[in-house]
């Protein structure tokens, strides 16, 4: 059962179910170290106007060619803008994967599910492997599937909050009912929360802030890798049932000094 537990996504076989991001690292040089330590095989990047004042490092040079790029459409406020960014990313050689991220609410950074669906419909027809970042809403997830999404990426908590699986009951609905992979994205702050998502049956998790802003991103990448693996193995091993009453683990018979009534 455990011999081939790879995740197939967009024709790529991922043997590691921890997706990572390149945002918020103190230095780009930490990224390849984190990738090596975590074993992550997919990583996000963003597209922005150049900043003439800033140091011009090409972030793509810090990502080994063996790691699949997942450009995001952050900064897009409409489906049209997301589509434009996706096309630019593909033309620029970043491959066919795209994380649709359309945000109009700048206070909580909640994804705009409607614009995201529109962008997914357009880009899936253009042959993109679309990974839409959404609020966990089951009817929307089914619409995304029908639109040709390669996966759905519901949030656990708002971006960068590190609060974990606040949307847990809704995530469970998606995991139980979606035919495409479910990748829990955003809000995961601790390895134990990543493990919990995987125990629930999530197909993968995407973690950026919690790794990039840890005091030691390399070690934290490794911790998340272990947690994701543990959670996945636990899910496949089928968790034992919960019970409100205690159930003894040791036999309740054969105690010392017990009167035998033969």
């Amino acid at each position: 059962m455990m011999t081939d537990d790879a995740l197939l996504l967009g024709g790529v076989r991922f043997t590691n179910r921890l997706f990572t991001g390149t945002g918020k690292f103190a230095a780009n040089s930490q990224i390849p170290k984190m990738l090596a330590a975590s074993g992550s095989q997919m990583i996000t990047v963003a597209l922005r106007r150049i900043d003439a004042q800033a140091k011009q490092e090409n972030i793509l040079e810090f990502i080994p060619k063996t790691v699949t790029l997942l450009p995001n459409t952050s900064g897009a406020r409409t489906a049209e803008q997301a589509v434009r960014i996706a096309r630019i990313a593909r033309e620029a050689g970043c491959g066919d994967f795209i994380k649709i991220e359309v945000i109009t609410d700048m206070k909580y950074l909640m994804p705009d599910n409607w614009e995201t669906l529109k962008a997914t419909e357009i880009l899936a027809k253009e042959g993109f492997f679309v990974l839409p970042y959404v609020l966990p809403d089951l009817p929307l997830a089914k619409r995304l599937e029908n639109a040709g999404a390669a996966a759905v990426m519901p949030l656990g908590a708002p971006i960068g909050t590190n609060r974990g699986l606040e949307t847990r009951p809704l995530l469970e609905l998606l995991i139980e009912n979606c035919t495409v992979p479910v990748v829990v994205d955003a809000g995961i702050g601790r390895p134990s929360q990543a493990a919990a998502a995987m125990e629930m049956g999530a197909d993968a998790v995407l973690v950026n802030t919690a790794i990039a802003t840890a005091a030691d991103p390399e070690a934290m990448g490794r911790a998340f890798d272990l947690a994701v693996r543990a959670g996945r193995i636990a899910y496949l091993a089928r968790l034992a049932e919960e019970s409100s009453l205690a159930r003894a683990s040791s036999p309740l018979t054969g105690f010392l000094d017990e009167e035998q009534s033969v």
Binding site: G21, T22, G23, K24, F25, N28, I31, T44, V45, A46, L47, R48, R49, I50, A52, Q56, E57, N58, I59, L60, E61, P71, N72, S74, R84, R87, I88, A89, E91, A92, C94, I159, G160, A186, L206, N208, T209, A212
Partner: protein, 65 residues
């Protein structure tokens, strides 16, 4: 002539995309160019002359989640 670079109207002498990028000291490896919402590949930068009113976007990939 006037062109719009990353949303800012600028007066520049007639030039190709390659010349403009070189003049600004932009590292070509990291640069992604969109002209009037058309992506221009690096091989074409030296062949595309900028015209008055062009909207040029000079972009690059950055860290993001």
């Amino acid at each position: 002539m006037e062109i719009i670079v990353n949303g800012v109207t600028e007066t520049v002498s007639p030039c190709t995309i390659a010349e403009l990028a070189e003049g600004r000291g932009l590292a070509t490896g990291a640069l992604v160019v969109e002209l009037n919402q058309q992506i221009i590949k690096q091989e074409q930068w030296s062949q595309v002359c900028l015209k008055t009113g062009d909207r040029l976007e000079l972009l690059s990939f950055v860290g993001g989640g």
